[in-house]
């Protein structure tokens, strides 16, 4: 049974000029020990999906319809108190913004110790030893010397690693990791990825990994979901999505990756911009930018259906007819 099951999730922001639908009918599941990657254009709704799961949507944002089921129980309708008990202990979150997660007035060690002692039974001494151990796990040099340093004394990437340690230290069953390695250089990234893979393999921890780094996705994930304008446009096993993307947006995304092999005059980009939430076109949301658009795409909205070796929401490829 899937540890997390999201079905037909819609998230909306009521505004004075009407309701903005930021997530539109999102469905996916994550199995125990599975790492699901989530990629997509900036503003596509990746972070909102994570916030909805952990019950931290910023008001006036709200779950308008759909369900989120964690470990067999519905969690999208829990009250603040009940959700807080699950968050941290069973679902750990690494936010995209490391500075807001860290308390600037408390040393990083103290923050780790408090988090662990809130959720696990640990003596002060054991908690301190574990705090140092976690800092070492995420690659902070001289961890025992620096355990009581304050966040501003750490570099951007070091702070990001402290946030990762904070999310993992209570040993949650599901980790929502929103761009956990963006500020990290490749070698530390490799270390964090190895750590996440080990948690998934040895402890059955499930991970939802939001990142725009396709290299990280390719190396870490079992499956990957591609989002565009609040919808999932493609989902499938990582090697299939990366090697033979079905949806034209995914194809464009793969083509924009700068290559290390050569310096080109211009990087390929997908022309145009993602539609704003109050102006999502009718039919397929990608149709104004799609080079393969057909009449039907401007009227009907494609569902997420099997296409080739993945599932894609595109009329062109559905039924494996590519």
């Amino acid at each position: 049974m899937a540890l997390l099951e999201v079905s037909q999730l819609c998230v909306e922001f009521p505004t004075r000029r009407g309701t903005l639908r930021a997530l539109d009918n999102i469905s996916f599941g994550i199995e125990p020990g599975e790492i699901l990657g989530v990629v997509g254009e900036s503003g596509a709704g990746k972070s909102l999906t994570g916030s909805a799961i952990i019950g931290l949507l910023e008001p006036p944002g709200r779950v308008a319809s759909g369900q989120i089921i964690f470990d067999g129980k519905r969690i999208d309708n829990l009250d603040q108190e009940a959700m807080r008990a699950i968050r941290g202990r069973h679902i750990g979150a690494i936010f995209q913004d490391p500075l807001t997660t860290l308390d600037p007035l408390m040393s990083v060690g103290k923050q780790l110790i408090e988090t662990m002692q809130t959720h696990l039974k640990l003596s002060d001494r054991d908690a301190k030893a574990r705090a140092i151990q976690w800092l070492e796990e995420v690659g902070i040099p001289a961890a025992s010397e620096r355990v009581f340093a304050y966040p501003h004394q750490f570099s951007g990437g070091m702070r990001q690693r402290v946030v990762i340690a904070l999310a993992l230290c209570a040993e949650p069953r599901l980790v929502i990791a929103d761009e956990p390695t963006t500020a990290l250089d490749v070698s530390i990234q490799a270390q964090i990825i190895t750590l996440m893979r080990r948690l998934a393999a040895d402890h059955g921890t499930s991970i939802m990994l939001v990142t725009h780094d396709m290299g990280v996705i390719a190396e870490t994930c079992d499956r990957v979901a591609v989002m565009y304008a609040g919808r999932i446009v493609e989902i499938g096993p990582v090697e299939n999505v990366v090697r033979s993307p079905q949806h034209p947006y995914t194809e464009g995304l793969m083509g924009s990756i700068p290559s290390l092999e050569a310096r080109v005059a211009r990087l390929r980009q997908i022309d145009g911009a993602m539609p704003r939430l109050n102006a999502i076109p009718q039919g397929c949301a990608f149709n104004p930018r799609c080079t393969k658009v057909m009449d039907r795409c401007r009227e009907e909205r494609p569902d997420l259906l099997p296409a080739g070796t993945t599932e894609a929401a595109c009329f062109l490829v559905q039924g494996g007819a590519r």
Binding site: E58, E219, L253, P258
Partner: protein, 330 residues
């Protein structure tokens, strides 16, 4: 071809005192603890070109970036901007306007209580670049459009944007003062590849059109290769290899540069276990003796442990490594 030097760093260092409070330190009988975030860095950036700094997290890139726009004063050494000492350049509003910085943390650098249009307009007003409200509004709209947002987005507050959208707001703000020298600290780290391509193309266009000069920092080496004329590889506060970027990417000479290039993830590597980088970054508070890279270096010998390597020129590239100098780093 002229090659005017816009920014020059001469043996620049920045140290931080990370000792415990004086009384506690006295009671425990500890010595002061000094962290050498940047420790003797020299480089020049030519007008219209891009120098990139790369290196592992914590090696001192952001500290160097802040030094380069005068946000930190150097503990040692000197920095000149357009031929003026940094403190003199900062005192001169017409020079100060010419430099700006995109910060690594886009969240912390946007005032949450201001509307986006006011955030982007702030430098325009501060330096009195435009005066009429209409002109300012148009310019803000144009800047937002350039970074792939829309003029209407100016009405909103930062929290209403996604991570990558906020990063683009800070890029729009940095461009609004029409800088000639721009320090970009991980400017596209929160952007998906297609928006990243758009921003990087924009930055290169501006460079070609207006002759902008960049100090560029990114941990994404493919992006760095795409953007750079020159490259400096930093390790524990020092530059261990610097020179033309293409040359270094093609033939990395310093053992640390080689290790960095080997660790790059790549999309053809589905499910592959990456060769983890051997060893961890040592503490910058008590760095290793001699060549600070020696505990992780396969070529280290006794001389490396005792003697700090000086820069040696190999063609256009300067490398600080005994093995390279002795010709045993083939």
């Amino acid at each position: 071809m002229s090659s005017r030097i816009v920014l020059e760093a001469n043996d620049v260092a920045r140290h931080f005192d990370v000792s415990r409070p004086a009384l506690q330190r006295l009671l425990a009988g500890e010595k002061k603890r000094i962290l050498r975030a940047v420790d003797g860095v020299s480089f020049q950036i030519v007008a219209g070109e891009t120098l990139s700094l790369v290196g592992e997290s914590g090696c001192g890139k952001s500290t160097m970036a802040r030094l380069a726009v005068g946000l930190y004063a150097p503990t040692q050494g000197s920095i000149t901007f357009e031929g003026q000492a940094m403190h003199a350049a900062l005192a001169d509003a017409s020079l100060r306007r010419k430099m700006n910085m995109i910060f690594q943390d886009p969240y912390a650098s946007l005032n949450p209580r201001w509307r986006v249009r006011d955030i982007v307009a702030e430098p325009i007003k501060a330096f009195k670049l435009l005066s009429s409200r209409k002109d300012i509004e148009d310019r803000v709209g144009q800047l937002l459009t350039q970074v792939g947002l829309s003029a209407h987005d100016g009405e909103k507050f930062p929290h209403e944007f996604s991570g990558g959208q906020r990063q683009r707001i800070s890029i729009a703000r940095a461009l609004s003062s029409e800088p000639e020298f721009l320090v970009c600290d991980e400017p596209t780290s929160a952007l998906d590849v297609s928006v990243q391509a758009q921003i990087l193309n924009l930055m290169r266009d501006l460079q070609e059109r207006l002759g902008l000069t960049y100090l560029f920092i990114s941990h994404n080496l493919a992006v760095v290769r795409h953007m750079s004329d020159d490259l400096g590889v930093m390790y524990l506060g020092r530059i261990v290899e610097q020179g033309p970027a293409e040359e270094i990417f093609r033939t990395p000479r310093h053992p640390y540069t080689r290790l960095l290039l080997d660790a790059i993830p790549d999309i053809s590597a589905v499910g592959r276990q990456r060769t983890p980088v051997g060893g961890e970054v040592p503490s910058p508070i008590s760095p290793p003796s001699g060549c600070t890279f020696h505990p992780r270096c396969a070529l280290a010998n006794d001389r490396c442990k005792a003697e700090r390597p000086l820069e040696t020129k190999v063609g256009d590239v300067a490398v600080a490594c005994h093995a390279v100098q002795e010709g045993r780093a083939a």
